[in-house]
Amino acid sequence: MTDEIQEWPAQWLRGPLALCALAVIAEHGSLHGYAIAQRLDEAGLGAIGGGTLYPLLARLERDELVTTEWLAGANGPARKVYVITAHGAQQLRQDAARWSAFATITSTVVTASQEERHR
């Protein structure tokens, strides 16, 4: 798989990327794959390649966190859009809260080690 995540180490993104994709889908109601990649890039996560994004979206669909539908494009080809399900929304709420707690803990641990060094 081509790893096009430039800005952040791939292993950092591997965990939260599915959650981030689910969040941007929920935020916009429905999005197609390329638009999800753009939103993630704009949010600062970096360029996510198709080889990383679509397997992740396929997993979300398999887990029934999103549904998909092909819609005719305005001026181009049809697009497969992803829509969050009720189960997906519930999962997002739970995971968002847990992720927030996790991020706070890791941030505290990492920052504390730096502060200790500067004393």
Binding site: E4, G33, G50, Y54, P55, W70, A72, P77, A78, K80
Partner: protein, 216 residues
């Protein structure tokens, strides 16, 4: 008029390199992914590439690895009626060819057709075994043919030799039958097989699972 798969792929996925698209299709097929899901996966790559541009390999990596990473369900599995049908078709064709060749040869030489029961049974059973092996382990057989064709040909040759040996060993006594009815039975069996295939195609219940692209 039906257009070829290559033409349809080029038409529906013009922004995806043709060789990459073919490799993706082959790998997904080898993994037992249904025709509709293959079309869905390819068209999603197309819509992404149409917007992003550039090289599909840079965006998606190698087709084979991408196909594996999608981890799509292998829904193109055989149902019990399909297994029965493919075995029946296999037996029908093998028996039909035997009778057709035996009848035609007898008609040409002016004598009776000599049908060795043991040979016929061995050939028909072998064809059913081959059909069952393809149904059960089709992915292994196809992967061998695609990825290691020389070994595939050698194994095919070995299996064919084994069937011939079996047919000769089990030949036993031959039935002497009038040439014309034997030839007629052969034509009837092969004709019947052809008619069944046509009916299946008309009904859309043929055994193959063509790639279908999603419609918006």
């Amino acid at each position: 008029m039906r257009i070829s798969l290559d033409d349809e792929v080029r038409e529906r996925a013009p922004h995806v390199d043709a060789a990459w698209a073919e490799a993706l299709i082959v790998e997904l097929r080898l993994r037992g992914v249904s025709g509709a899901t293959v079309g869905d996966a390819l068209l999603e790559v197309e819509t992404h590439m149409a917007e992003q541009g550039g090289s599909v390999v840079e965006a998606f990596g190698e087709a084979k690895e991408y196909a594996a990473s999608l981890d799509l369900p292998d829904t193109a599995r055989w149902t019990a009626p399909q297994v029965v049908r493919v075995c029946a078709q296999s037996a029908l064709v093998t028996l039909g060819i035997q009778l057709l060749v035996g009848g035609a040869a007898a008609l040409a030489s002016g004598g009776d057709a000599r049908i060795a029961i043991g040979t016929t049974v061995a050939l028909v059973l072998s064809s059913v075994v081959v059909a069952l092996a393809l149904v059960a382990k089709g992915e292994v057989v196809l992967r061998l043919a695609v990825e290691r064709p020389v070994l595939g040909i050698l194994l095919l040759g070995g299996a064919s030799a084994l069937v011939v040996l079996l047919a000769v060993a089990l030949a036993g006594p031959a039935l002497a039958l009038p040439a014309v009815p034997v030839l007629g039975a052969g034509i009837l069996l092969l004709g019947g097989f052809g008619a069944l295939m046509l009916v299946a195609r008309r009904r859309g219940s043929e055994l193959d699972d063509p790639i279908r692209f999603p419609q918006a």
